[in-house]
Amino acid sequence: MKTVWNLIKKEYLLFWNDKVSVSLTFLVPAVLIVLFGYIFGGSGNSASGIDLAFLNNSNSKIADKIESTLDTTKTFHIIKTYLNNEGKQVKFDTVSIKDFVKKGNASAALVVPEDAYSDTAFGLKLKFYYNPRNEMEMQIIQGLLQQTVMTQIPELFNSSLTRRSEDFLGKQKSKSFNKSIATLISKYFGVDTSKILKDGYFTFGVGDSTGNDTTSKGAAKFFSSIVKFDKEQLVGKDVNNPNVTRSIGGYAMMFLLFSITASGASLFEEKQSGVTLRILTSPVSRMHILWSKYLYNISLGVLQLFAMFLFGFLFFNIDIFSNFLNLFIVIISASAACTAFGMVLAAFSKTQAQARGLGTFLIITMSAIGGAWFPTFFLPSFIQTISKLTLVYWSMDGFMKVLWEGAGFMEILPIVGVLLLIAAIVNVASIWGFKRGDIF
């Protein structure tokens, strides 16, 4: 037994001294548990800060109420203006709001048309424009939006109808009318009259014209069927196999990061074997090695990403060729950023094992918060801000723009710019790291 105990102690000693194993055993799962906890466990906020373009063309009180409700909700970040060609913020109109969504500046738009509601009409019409680049996100947006609208408008309908009833019958007679109707229902259907009046199950003209809460609950059930959302998908209608088109970029990036990190970490292997020494005693400088590694990894990244998209084309009929040039530009930019990431890991790690362990941790974290696995709006707002600092976020954005929206060069230019900026900054850091580190 003592022998077994000593062997167990040996295992623990080796385990604790292997920082990679320790981090993969505890740190990576801990981070993932926290992230998933935020999303599914309710530890953080529910969906928040979703960009929603909004245009109110109606003069009705209902439209104003919807607008003010949306203005105060945390679920949506309401956008009512856009930057025009002259660089000025101007209010949306029915054309520009659709363009705004088409360009991917917001996932969806809600328009309250001029004829959304009138005193003579019975019902509410809303227009909903959307870009389902993320199916899960879109379903949640629609659900949340309907919920938000539904909880607000019934009471307004109710107050409106009450007002019309009072105008027609007079206040006293209107109340008497409602009471009579309730008594009849009670008589023939065996329901308590006071309950009908109190809970607002029968609502026409019941309550007062302020639309208080006692009536809205029952009213919501009644009116939920008469609010009409005219939905129009603006982008991606013709995309083949939308689900795979949406997801391929995220997974391609994750695996690219793994292979580039391994390649960057191979610098340690070469150093340990003495190959780096041999190479550097030939007519080769350290910058030659860094440049060769960098360009090799970019080319490897381009090949890997292209191969993945080609598989997508061959097996899932994803259209990669109709906008191929722009796809290629995003692929190169994403590879450049990934390579910089792999190199900076190598530059600041002390050993190959450390580079691999740190790489695994960062790749999984970046993929999770960058949107490769689930929409970022699930995450708390501070993590959503951090996610915009990850190359996974921008790469995925680029792939979606190109494959989903068929974006042209000028539209992807900001994304390409961000990716190349990330690559440049990280490269400067890695060169500094290589100079002060001891890998060379």
Binding site: T281, P283, S285
Partner: protein, 305 residues
């Protein structure tokens, strides 16, 4: 001609070389002898242009060698202490990679590869992956890859570590042939036998300082004693060791004691004392002083400490 002038190289925790100066002549087989951590490899890495010194300079034919002077690096071939090879590819592919870095054209590279692989007896295995080679074969390939570009100076940093005597002798033969062919060879080791066999001149280095330098004979002649005496470890009492110490510097080895006699010791008086103490003559050996003895005499430590 290699001129090392007042070289100092410091690392965060240690000064590896401290104001080292020496000159190595063309076509010389020069040995750098010292224990682990003495500064030998640092000096080799500076000579090869892998590291840059903190102060001082190294001139090769009047040109300063540094990590950025790529032209001068072409004159040098470093045989690293480690097996600096890609194990997962073939011997020929390794040679092609390293040869191409020296700018060898395809045809001359092919010729050079065949010549060097033949020289180290690996031509028939050129298509085999390095990972299938024995330790000795890898060492030979390690050497061949370093001289592919026909360098004027060959730096050998303990090139025989961990191999069998047969492969070691083979490497010695190749190096001697290279030296005969006019190459300057600088060889580091902590094995005195290697330095004694190969080197015409030796510098002994310890703690970053050159503590002695000269031909083998000059170094041996510089010793106060002309013989060393070994005594088998059959006599380990304090009385015996005190007696031994009265005749000179005594060092304790695994199987015997080694005595470096004080100047002017008469062997007759030593043997008389041994006889009186009951020590058998068969336990005593008289030897010519070795580099090991020299190092011990200079530093009070063994080369392998």
């Amino acid at each position: 001609m290699i001129s090392i002038q007042n070289i100092t190289k410091k690392f965060p925790s240690v000064t590896a070389l401290d104001d080292v100066s020496l000159e190595i002549k063309e076509k010389e087989f020069f040995g750098l002898l010292g224990p682990n951590g003495a500064g030998k490899s640092t000096l080799m890495n500076l000579l090869a242009g892998y590291l840059d010194s903190d102060s001082g300079e190294i001139l090769i034919d009047g040109k300063i060698i540094s990590s950025n002077n790529l032209e001068v690096k072409k004159k040098i071939g470093l045989v690293p202490q480690s097996l600096a090879l890609y194990e997962e590819i073939t011997a020929q592919e390794n040679m092609e990679i390293f040869g191409s870095l020296f700018g060898l054209e395809k045809s001359s590279l092919r010729y050079a590869i065949a010549e060097k692989l033949n020289m180290v007896g690996l031509f028939d295995r050129k298509k085999d992956k390095v990972q299938t080679f024995s330790g000795g074969m890898k060492r030979r390939l390690n050497l061949a890859a370093s001289i592919l570009h026909d360098p004027q100076i060959v730096l050998c940093d303990e090139p025989t570590v961990g191999i069998d005597p047969q492969s070691r002798n083979a490497i010695f033969d190749y190096l001697e042939k290279l030296n005969e062919a006019g190459k300057t060879i600088i060889y580091t080791t902590h094995y005195m036998e290697e330095a004694e066999r190969l080197c015409s001149r030796v510098a002994i280095i310890d703690f970053g300082h050159i503590i002695s330098m000269g031909t083998m004979q000059q170094l041996i002649d510089s010793l106060e004693f002309k013989q060393t005496i070994t005594i088998d470890k059959n006599y380990e009492t304090e009385r015996h060791t005190s007696l031994f110490k009265s005749f000179g510097l005594l060092t304790d080895h695994e199987n015997n004691y080694e005595l470096m006699p004080t100047d002017g010791l008469k062997l007759s008086s030593f043997f008389t004392a041994m006889e009186e103490s009951g020590i058998s003559y068969s336990s005593i050996n008289i030897k010519k002083p070795s580099l090991e003895s020299l190092f011990l005499n200079l530093t009070g430590r063994s080369l392998r400490d």
